[in-house]
């Protein structure tokens, strides 16, 4: 059959397709799906890169659009603005936005079972536990100030006794001793410090009572209703990517060097270090992204310490059950 369409007819058909999303989806081979990452392209997202490179999203019927993040990108904004369907967030800010501003978010999974954020210091001036911070200068990204305050409170350290200054993600002041410690991903910074000829020591906020996830998988309630099938497909393909990547954390970063990692200004060794260090924080007996009831309860309890009243209702575990 020969179909001839002029431009106007074509536009009309497109309009009709837009009003009937179900039909549109059945008709097209791959549905566009936009994913907003929470940071610049590094090993933190290796699983997604792998799934994209190996065509897992295509197999699942998705046309994935990957949006890189960065220090000033607010991932949640992308899903409110409709730029992205799904994003990765820190649960404290997401739940704060739900509670205080009525943001229509649902947490449907968690990449990091244990938040990789920790206190990093130099081995020659070590900060081994929260109490060591008393009288010291700690650089904290403004976004993470609440997390740090929670950890201090849980550990019984007076906030006023720690000098908290802004952290601009450059470890130079720590290496040069201008600050005593900084808050950053422990999967990453110790490597940089070693490169600069110093030895680092670190502990996770998680291990001192601030028991939250990180890179929580977040969608809006509306998207969850309208695109549930695609979300499930995305999680399934991503889990496959992660499983393969974590099987040998040294294997895949090099395949991204000239594509995903191009122009980030970071070294391959750094990414391999990161990928290896994050393995125990991501792995989960029930499968990557899973959120156990105990872990959700621990999140709620930790957030309560900073005055954020998270509810079980903010987490939705039913999507992953379909994966």
């Amino acid at each position: 059959m020969h179909l001839s369409l002029n431009r106007r007819h074509f536009m009309g058909l497109m309009g009709a397709a837009a009003t009937m999303p179900m039909m549109g989806r059945m008709a097209s081979a791959a549905t566009p799906f936009n994913f907003q990452a929470s940071w610049i392209n590094d090993a933190e997202f290796a699983g997604y890169f792998l799934a994209a490179d190996k065509g897992y999203y295509k197999e699942a019927g998705l046309e994935l659009e990957y949006l890189s993040g960065g220090p000033d990108v607010i991932p949640e904004s992308s899903i409110i603005a409709g730029k992205a369907d799904l994003t990765l967030t820190t649960p404290d800010t997401t739940i704060k936005a739900i509670v205080e501003q009525g943001a229509p978010f649902k947490i449907i999974g968690a990449q990091y079972q244990k938040n990789p954020i920790g206190i990093v210091s130099l081995a020659k001036n070590p900060i081994k536990e929260p109490k060591d911070l008393i009288g010291k200068t700690l650089a904290v990204p403004p976004v993470n100030v609440i997390s740090v305050e929670a950890m201090l409170k849980i550990s019984g350290v007076d906030r006023a006794q720690v000098n908290i200054v802004p952290y601009a993600y450059d470890p130079t002041p720590l290496i040069k001793g201008e600050i005593d410690a900084s808050v950053d991903f422990t999967t990453n910074v110790p490597f940089t410090i070693k490169q600069a000829g110093e030895e680092a020591t670190s502990f996770l906020l998680y291990d001192f009572g601030f028991t939250i996830f990180n890179d929580t998988v977040v969608v809006t309630e509306e998207t969850l209703k309208a695109k549930r099938k695609e979300i499930v497909a995305f999680l399934k393909a991503s889990r496959k990517g992660w499983d393969e990547n974590l099987a040998d954390p040294t294997a895949y970063p090099k395949t991204f060097a000239d594509t995903w990692f191009k122009g980030t200004g970071r070294s391959l060794e750094n990414e391999v270090y990161f990928n290896t260090a994050q393995k125990p924080l991501i792995e989960n007996a029930k499968g990557v992204f899973s959120m156990s009831e105990e872990a959700i309860a621990a999140n709620i309890e930790a957030l309560a310490a900073v005055g954020i009243t998270a509810k079980r209702d903010h987490f939705d575990t039913t999507v992953l059950e379909e994966v």
Binding site: I40, N41, L67, S68, G69, G70, P71, D72, V73, I74, E76, S77, I80, A81, G82, K83, T93, T94, K96, A97, E100, Q101, A103, P141, P142, V143, N144, V145, I146, I164, V165, P166, A168, Y169, D170, P171, T172, P173, I175, K176, G177, E178, D184, N188, V189, T192, I193, Q195, A196, K262, G263, T264, G265, R266
Partner: protein, 536 residues
């Protein structure tokens, strides 16, 4: 003798280019480079946080594969913004020059655009637009005011006699514009474009910090921050500086080719002159409309874009957030606390920046050689992204008021210096000859003649310094001290506190506009008393 040549060189209009001057400039640059190399090599500054120039070069060479994509992306954002911003600016400038009512109506919008602190509106642009758009918009905004004022100035300085000729032959308004005014304004417009070109580069880079794109020098800088590699950061910063200087140089060349005239590098910091015409009632109506217009544009833009209300706050949304919502009291408390920290530092920083610019301008009269060799350093401070220098700055200056003060001075002094030096250079030769004939020393000449005579330029410099001082303080607070409006803005981004992000942006613009208006009122009062005209 020394006076005029020194000023000529320092404000960029070369009046004397003897071989000796070239040699001394080269010699000074070489001394500077060697000193920098020694300081860097032997880790004499901040325990090695200042890399030596050779280290920067070596790093640049090993990173050479990374640069092309980043430079291309920044170039795209900057050049598109440059085209759009300047296109609009020239059209607006023509409109304002032709219609005094339009000029008075547009005044509020013009001052608001002039006073926008990029640091405060960049997150808003990123929230509202996607892809390359935030870069293009910020680059365009960086160009608009400079070129618009240059166009207005250029057209209003058209030779009346030429206009009369066209009129006598029956030329209408359009013919006047086409045949005389636009041609007459060309040198001024080109001078505007020259200053706008580096502004477009910086605008694009600033928006890249928050834009989340993968490529662009700003994105590269952000990605490289975590590596603790000052040589890399300096390489990126210097690449940005080189881009800005090349853009400036290209337009300087075009200008010289087309107009073959020397002009001052400064561009007016006053919107088109307003002569009060008509009744006081119409004056009030137009003033009110001019104040309302920026808010109307803001509101309309959001309506047209259809950004969700949770992210994009309209004027009503900001009012609601700050006064009516349940969280209003908390928001007010946080805002006032931040203002309490930021405002005093802004005033002190502005005073310090102006004082530094003034001393430098005076020194350029008394000791031209020293000032001339300082100029390359001064230029780099204007184009180097400060975030690249943060570790160095906090290591050298700590995280107290002194780091705020120095960052503010560095952000403020340069345009003020250029304006002041221009003013000192325009002092009437005759007046100077009188005191010289009585044997006055250079200092007495300054005190009795030059300083009083360049008062209009001091006010012009103050107007330029106002928004930049607030910008400088906010940058320092955001990067180093963690206090005030800068930190509030940064933290609000992390907490998804959209209401506060908009509030900080709006408040910072209002503060800039308010200070700017205060300067204008004082300026009018003082100059009227002395029978002087404001410098444009």
């Amino acid at each position: 003798m020394a006076t005029e040549t020194a000023l000529g060189a320092s404000v960029g209009t070369t009046r004397e280019t003897s071989g000796f001057r070239h040699w001394s400039a080269l010699r000074n640059a070489a001394i500077l480079l060697v000193a920098w190399e020694v300081l860097g090599r032997f880790k004499l500054v901040a325990g090695g946080a200042l890399p030596a120039p050779t280290e920067v070069l070596i790093r640049f060479w090993s990173d050479r594969g990374d640069y092309p994509a980043h430079i291309l992306a920044t170039f795209q954002g900057a050049s598109l913004g440059f085209l759009i911003g300047n296109g609009l600016a020239i059209l607006a400038g023509i409109l304002f020059a032709v219609s005094p009512v339009a000029a008075r109506l547009g005044r509020g919008l013009n001052v608001a655009i002039f006073a926008l602190p990029p640091i405060a509106i960049s997150p808003i642009l990123v929230l509202t637009f996607s892809g390359m758009t935030p870069r293009v918009v910020l680059a365009a905004l960086g160009c608009y005011f400079v070129t618009m004022s240059a166009t207005v100035t250029g057209i209003s300085q058209t030779d009346r006699r030429m206009l009369d000729v066209v009129r006598a032959y029956g030329g209408g308004r359009l013919a006047l514009l086409r045949l005389v005014e636009i041609r007459a304004a060309l040198p001024a417009i080109l001078a505007g474009l020259r200053v706008a070109a580096p502004a477009a580069v910086l605008g694009s880079i600033l928006a890249e910090f928050g834009g989340g794109g993968r490529f662009g020098l700003g994105a590269y800088l952000i990605g490289s921050l975590g590596r603790a590699d000052p040589a890399r950061l300096w390489g990126i910063g210097l690449a940005a500086t080189a881009m800005a200087l090349i853009a400036y140089g290209i337009f300087a060349l075009i200008e010289a080719r087309l107009t073959r005239s020397t002009r001052a590098v400064t561009v007016a910091a006053t919107p088109p002159g307003i002569r009060s015409e008509g009744s006081w009632l119409s004056t009030i109506a137009i003033t009110l409309a001019s104040i309302t217009l920026p808010f109307l544009v803001w509101w309309l833009l959001l309506k047209v874009l259809g950004t969700p209300a949770m992210i994009a706050k309209t004027p009503a949304g900001v009012f609601d957030y700050l006064f009516l919502a349940p969280s209003a009291t908390s928001a007010q408390t946080r805002l006032l606390a931040a203002l309490g920290q930021t405002l005093p530092m802004t005033l002190i920083g502005m005073a310090a920046g102006l004082a530094f610019a003034f001393l430098l301008a005076l020194a350029s009269v008394v000791r031209p050689g020293i000032v001339r060799s300082f100029m390359p350093v001064a230029l780099v401070t204007q184009t180097m992204p400060l975030v690249a220098l943060t570790p160095l700055l906090v290591l050298l200056l700590g995280r107290g008021p002194s780091v705020i003060l120095w960052i503010t001075i560095s952000v403020t002094f340069f345009p003020a210096f250029v304006t002041l030096a221009q003013g000192l250079g325009m002092v009437s030769r005759g007046a100077l000859d009188v005191v010289r004939a009585y044997g006055a020393s250079p200092f007495t000449q300054l005190r009795l003649v030059s300083i009083p005579a360049s008062l209009p330029y001091l006010f012009a410099a103050m107007r330029l310094a106002v928004p930049r001082a607030l910008l400088g303080v906010m940058i320092a607070e955001w990067l180093a001290t963690g206090t005030g409006l800068g930190n509030l803005l940064n933290q609000s981004r992390g907490y998804l506190d959209y209401g506060m992000i908009w509030t900080v942006a709006v408040v910072s613009v209002l503060i800039s506009v308010l200070f700017y208006q205060i300067v204008i009122v004082i300026e009018r009062h003082v100059l009227r008393k002395r029978g002087m005209q404001p410098a444009v």
